[in-house]
Symmetry: C2
Subunit: 768 residues, 2 copies
Amino acid sequence: MNQDYIKPDNWSIIEEGFDADQVKSSESLFSIGNGAMGQRANFEEQYSGPTFQGSYIAGVYYPDKTKVGWWKNGYPEYFAKVLNAPNWIGIHVTINGETLDLFTCQKVENFRRELNMKEGWLSRSFTATLSNSVEIQVETKRFLSLDFDEVGAIAYHITPLNSDVLVNFSPYLDNGITNEDSNWDDKFWDVLSINHEANQAFIVSRTMKTDFHVCTAMQLQTLINGKEIEQDKTASNRDDFVEFKYQNQVHKNDTITMIKFGGYTTDRNHDKDNLIAVAKKTLDEVSKLGYNELLELQKKAWAEIWEKADITIEGDVKAQQGIRFNIFQLNQTYLGKDARLNIGPKGFTGEKYGGSTYWDTEAYCIPFYLATKNQEVARNLLAYRYHHLEKAIENAEKLGFKNGAALYPMVTMNGEECHNEWEITFEEIHRNGAIAFAIYNYYRFTGDYTYIPEKGLEVLIGIARFWHQRATFSEAKNKYVILGVTGPNEYENNVNNNFYTNYLAKWCIHYTLENIDKVEAEHASDFKRIMKKVQLSKKELSLWKKVADAMYFPFSEEKKVYLQQDGFLDKELITAANLDKSQRPINQKWSWDRILRSPYIKQADTLQGFYFFEDDFTTEELERHFDFYEPFTVHESSLSPCVHSIQAAKLGRMEQAYTFYLRTSRLDLDDYNHEVHEGLHITSMAGTWMSIVEGFGGMRVKNDTLSFSPKIPKQWNGYSFKINFRNQILKVHVHQNETHFELDGKTVLDIIVNGKAVKIQPNSLVKV
Amino acid sequence: MNQDYIKPDNWSIIEEGFDADQVKSSESLFSIGNGAMGQRANFEEQYSGPTFQGSYIAGVYYPDKTKVGWWKNGYPEYFAKVLNAPNWIGIHVTINGETLDLFTCQKVENFRRELNMKEGWLSRSFTATLSNSVEIQVETKRFLSLDFDEVGAIAYHITPLNSDVLVNFSPYLDNGITNEDSNWDDKFWDVLSINHEANQAFIVSRTMKTDFHVCTAMQLQTLINGKEIEQDKTASNRDDFVEFKYQNQVHKNDTITMIKFGGYTTDRNHDKDNLIAVAKKTLDEVSKLGYNELLELQKKAWAEIWEKADITIEGDVKAQQGIRFNIFQLNQTYLGKDARLNIGPKGFTGEKYGGSTYWDTEAYCIPFYLATKNQEVARNLLAYRYHHLEKAIENAEKLGFKNGAALYPMVTMNGEECHNEWEITFEEIHRNGAIAFAIYNYYRFTGDYTYIPEKGLEVLIGIARFWHQRATFSEAKNKYVILGVTGPNEYENNVNNNFYTNYLAKWCIHYTLENIDKVEAEHASDFKRIMKKVQLSKKELSLWKKVADAMYFPFSEEKKVYLQQDGFLDKELITAANLDKSQRPINQKWSWDRILRSPYIKQADTLQGFYFFEDDFTTEELERHFDFYEPFTVHESSLSPCVHSIQAAKLGRMEQAYTFYLRTSRLDLDDYNHEVHEGLHITSMAGTWMSIVEGFGGMRVKNDTLSFSPKIPKQWNGYSFKINFRNQILKVHVHQNETHFELDGKTVLDIIVNGKAVKIQPNSLVKV
């Protein structure tokens, strides 16, 4: 953990001073993305120190051959990985024939990196003394356009400081890239053609197996002291690489600038044969527009995002920086335009984990997107699962289920399973429940029921069928049990009757039954279409109901708590606070068996059920369960602190809520887990947002009504957030003694604040 | 399964007719070994069809880098694999320049392979018509000498049948070999030198990482019509290969013979710098002795083995062949001369599973070696674990245990863990109990207590410490529990309170306490030495006792059975007989989660406890547990049928006992599991022996006395076995109506037959 390395700032992430040991971490933290592509903050010029090069194109993946020690029936033979894409940002630089490389320079001074979150760009500046003793000042700025999401732009400025110099810029495209996490060092890309014409170059390549066709392109402009110059270049290329060489004599204190536009067109969005033409057209368009104008558009586009999504925190710059970093990264990763995409656990900042979609999307990200975007965005996230329903049914069939039962994969890219640990892949089945819960959540928040008859009900039926078949009857208990599962707490594997899983299963069946009735009554033609497709009999429905009604929940009469699973009380119940510090984090210090037989909880499990279904339990019950389980919780998942923060806030324990909040909001900025060099924790960032809005703000939606019970950590002067609720934006500003509500919309909004009805008129401030 | 492919024969394994599809299976079945080395029955001449080439040297292994999908703390970084050794058997043959290759011949007729178990050799004969239409008769015989265990011998005879021909023999040594099961295709061998001189050649090579030095050697003789000829050869070699070329014109119907002696010397047994000299000396010695004389010695050596170990079965040739195959293979794999060696699960017949030592050795193999060899052999097997005690303590430390607690690895070569599935490696801890039980078993059978003060007690103390630390106190149960284990039934993972494990743990502690007292009383100086080493306090002993005395055993009051583990009765208790045949074997048809939540049992688990500790339970209890568990048992482990056969026999259910016996005795010969091409199931072969001796014969040792309760399957006319009991050999011959006992020894032997005392005089027949 390094809490001083990133400078506090309200709107920017700033690094000052060059430290080769931090390069890989900074490459993650300063990553940029525009929902369609993204890249780590690799330097444009050569860097021979430790680095992790990564550029990624949304939806372009590679099915890597599964690698396991011991094969278990049911493992997927291949699984989809985020694929390192061709590098378009590279600009090789020499000064008087000497390569610019920060790792080998005599001196690097005044190094500064800034990721400007307000405007969506990344800059870098430094003064370098090369080994030939030439001193130069370098400034670069880079962004991936939100308006033209197939291009990015780089401005690379060099000013010689102590002599006239010969500057050689060699901008290039490089398809010779590999994945750090490749299983077998297979070749992932096959180059089909390399072309160049005037100041543009194109590499068309295809991915092996998946056969995605991608055109990587660049266009160059050279400027001296801000004025474009016409000039000759030499072009050269080899198998998977093309570069231009621009050579200029530059006077001391003059500035030479290389503008590089680049990016990708893919056959996910265009005809395979048209990729170069589309890329050429887009490059022509943006270069005509010019770098500066494109940057102005970028600022406007980000301003629009912040207009709906910003959270302010007064009196705590680090907290302010943290929450904006989370909101910024989520928006860099996913913007909701394409229902075939989802929110990868590392976004465009790394490769680890493979796949792109976990239950994180439904449990953590959907609330964020529901409240900060138009409803189409969350609807697209739901539709993503609808489009994978057939694959989920196939997946369930592989595990022995039948008759349309659906088990969504633990991790997926295209609907197929991308995970291969039996205790997770086959047993962490609660993910199926989160997908149903997200449908409920979407309707609850938006009031848009149309999704359910159109798409959602089929998903619900597949899921309900799974739970019905997965539960078995225990003669001994005279109840239905669910054996052999892993709950959200992955520090328990293959347990019986995980409370959260059983509760979710019961709820899924009941919720599906309820919606079958509602769709039958209110959407007759959809009902007919669906029933024809799924072949559901009254008999089957009554069997579902039988299972749901007689579901078993382990409960301790003595402790008056539901048990996380059968046998939980047989453990040595020593709280986490009584563990020696040297033993933490247990996932790095202990062998797996020791973790499993311990009572320690990785992330909310029973409490996740209390979070999803809070209205089913009293506050006293919540308190009792919180007090029983939280002391055993080691919060070693990035998804853990947020739920606990929300619940602590609900219980009025603001100190504890604030402590949890800190842990989630600067997880990556302060590198709590010593792994930021591998990439950022994108999905848990939505949990940070939830901690403020649902935790401190107490925001809920019930019966088509927004409600709040605002609380504020004593460390803050105030904070504000915005809720895009049914096409109006409500701004909530919480101060130490009162809360202000402001509505940007046209219709009076009835809300509930601390249990009391409050009317908010459009465009007027209401203080409560 | 192919039940007709091996011809029934009392003493030989015979294959008739050439079938390329059977080559890999036959390579396993016809494997030969002499305890120090072994090899699959690969052809000497080139074979271009599907083949699995395998030669192995006992104790020469390679630590392969672990390959897993997801790393868990505690996994070994490397683990030892059986290493494919240089090939010394190869003889390239051309006839008139045409390569002899059975896969490409015009015709192969009268193909016959015989593995003569009585005399310990492998032969092959066939008539081949080459594509040049030359017809030749080939006869080969090969054996690995028991007397000179660093050499083997091959006689390769060719008789041209339809013309005079030019025969070219090119015998070679090849170090360019790889492992089929290599994780990363690493290079395993490094060739140091290649030499040849007269008719001898030597390759000295070393294994990477482990740095074993091995000299692979050969010596050649050529004969025409049985008479050695002097002749010139040409020698050639490349990086990892050396060959001689012998060219001879052979008249139609004359026979040319190549005698090849070859094998290995290693620095496990000799000085590194002496390997060639030792190999040369041994080759000189055996070639001076001559092929025929060496073969005569081989026959004598095997006769001595059979003298102590043979089992006869009258009236059932296949059963006879099966049991002798099992006894033969066990003796090919391990002869007990070297306490650094053990009994690999595939012996010298394949590579699968890595490592060489499982709990199979203690639970299944030791009884066989106890009764068929001098006691030094079993004592060497115990000492093997004694020598690994320090490593077992280190292994336990890696998993968080301390103070000298020892956890023996699940699979090992040199004491280090060779396994990497958390549910097995970390959780299948009952293996530790089997190691203690073997010490008890050795003393019970041999009456030799010296092993315990000398070595065994330290092992017992390490094991008892492990159990004491591994059990935890459950407040809820007010008992000690053992959480998170995998029992012998590997179709359950990470269960709580596996009856067998808990019972064994309790027994281990009590047995260790008992021996601490006994060693203190009877071997004071050993006691002093050991206590100084292990630092054991009275306090610690009382803590052990507390755990053992209050151990929890799951029990169903309703069914009156001990439960395999907590929660077993929550399963859907459908017996295996009610499973659709299409679903069997479940380990091939079902995903892992489905297997885990089913009640199906892979091999004896609770019943394994009843087998080890049969005197702790009444016959009624055994019957109740057998009737409860066996119906859920799918016997998908090669170790399963034998224990059930023994228990069925004890319960007087001879039909069932016989059915189980059949399943174990011809497992490989009839290829029940469709996997014999990968190698043989060596360790389970000892279970077959147990089925006859302990099952049908009812042999037990209690209070220094042998007892029997002979039963006989109605399908047999009679059967006999031998027991080497305290330096006298008792032959037991069971007929349908009576049993004959004959003692080869000098002292009257008091035994118990069907509960009654019987005196057996030396060298006289007693009928009961």
